[in-house]
């Protein structure tokens, strides 16, 4: 082979190799561009979805905070009312009877409630009695203590029933508020209706 032909062959091989590299670069880089465009399209959809999520969840924090504040106020009110009416020990026992184990947690605004040993009210009273007590009927829940009197004592049934009512009735006061007076001589008169005493309306006769 002459030197000129040898140089020409080496140059041709070089050009072929460079061409191969360029073809490989073009193929793979175009493929990467296509994949990146798919990723861009997917990210656009994702951003739109996330923007919707942000927009829809924006008021959630404030609303939930307000709801929690109002519920906290309601819980404080009911707990305070229960403790005021039933007493701390009975209130803790009542709550523990309805929700076993709740006495350990105690009332939120009354830290001393966690130190009270809850009386075993749930073992003495039925669920209905506890429900009445929960509704504020003043059931003698203190008697739920095993050391105290039982509510369902057959010999003292009437006494136990009377204890369900407020103290003013148990003391048997000499005078209680009278029942309202009705009739023409009643101290409180209401406006008379015009249609009372008037002839009755007649429906059209059927054909």
């Amino acid at each position: 082979m002459t030197p000129v032909l040898a140089f020409a062959a080496a140059g041709a091989v070089m050009i072929f190799a460079v061409g191969l590299i360029v073809v490989a670069l073009v193929y793979y880089l175009v493929s990467v561009i296509v994949a990146l465009r798919k990723i861009t399209a997917g990210l656009d959809e994702t951003i739109a979805g996330v923007a919707e999520i942000v927009q829809k969840s924006a008021p959630v924090n404030d609303v939930v905070t307000t709801i929690n504040e109002q519920l906290d106020a309601g819980v404080d009110l009911l707990e305070g009312l229960l403790v005021k009416k039933a007493g701390m020990t009975d209130a803790v026992g009542l709550v523990d009877g309805l929700y076993p184990g709740a006495a350990a947690t105690g009332f939120r605004n009354l830290p001393e409630s966690t130190t009270i040993k809850a009386p075993r009210i749930g073992e003495v009273y039925t669920r209905g009695t506890l429900t009445l007590a929960r509704l504020g009927r003043e059931a003698p829940i203190a008697a739920g203590n095993p050391a105290g009197a039982a509510l369902r004592d057959p010999e003292r049934g009437s006494l136990a029933a009377r204890q369900l009512y407020p103290e003013t009735r148990q003391a048997r006061p000499a005078s209680m508020p009278r029942s309202p007076v009705i009739g023409t001589d009643a101290p409180v008169q209401y406006e008379q209706r015009d249609d009372i005493g008037a002839p009755r309306k007649r429906l059209p006769a059927a054909r």
Binding site: I21, L29, G49
Partner: protein
């Protein structure tokens, strides 16, 4: 002359495979991201749809406010009607 042929051989036997290997790795990595991004887009759309009920929280807020007000009135009445614990 010999160096030129050696250069050709190196170009074909070393440089070209390395270039192809590296580009293929980049392409595979890019392609592997596509399904993940598509799944994320689906999840974001589903999450957005799940939050459609968030607007009902305003109704819940109103109802809770009314309920607590009713409980407060009821509790006030009970406080008047019932005697305190001794």
């Amino acid at each position: 002359m010999i160096l030129w042929w050696i250069g050709d051989v190196v170009l074909l036997a070393v440089v070209l495979p390395v270039v192809v290997y590296l580009l293929r790795g980049v392409l595979d990595a890019a392609k592997s991201i596509v399904p993940s991004v598509q799944q994320i887009a689906k999840v974001a759309a589903a999450g957005s749809k799940d939050l459609d009920a968030a607007a009902l929280l305003l109704t819940t807020q109103d109802q809770v406010s009314k309920t607590v007000a009713g409980v407060a009135n009821y509790g006030g009445s009970l406080d008047v009607i019932l005697d305190d614990a001794r």
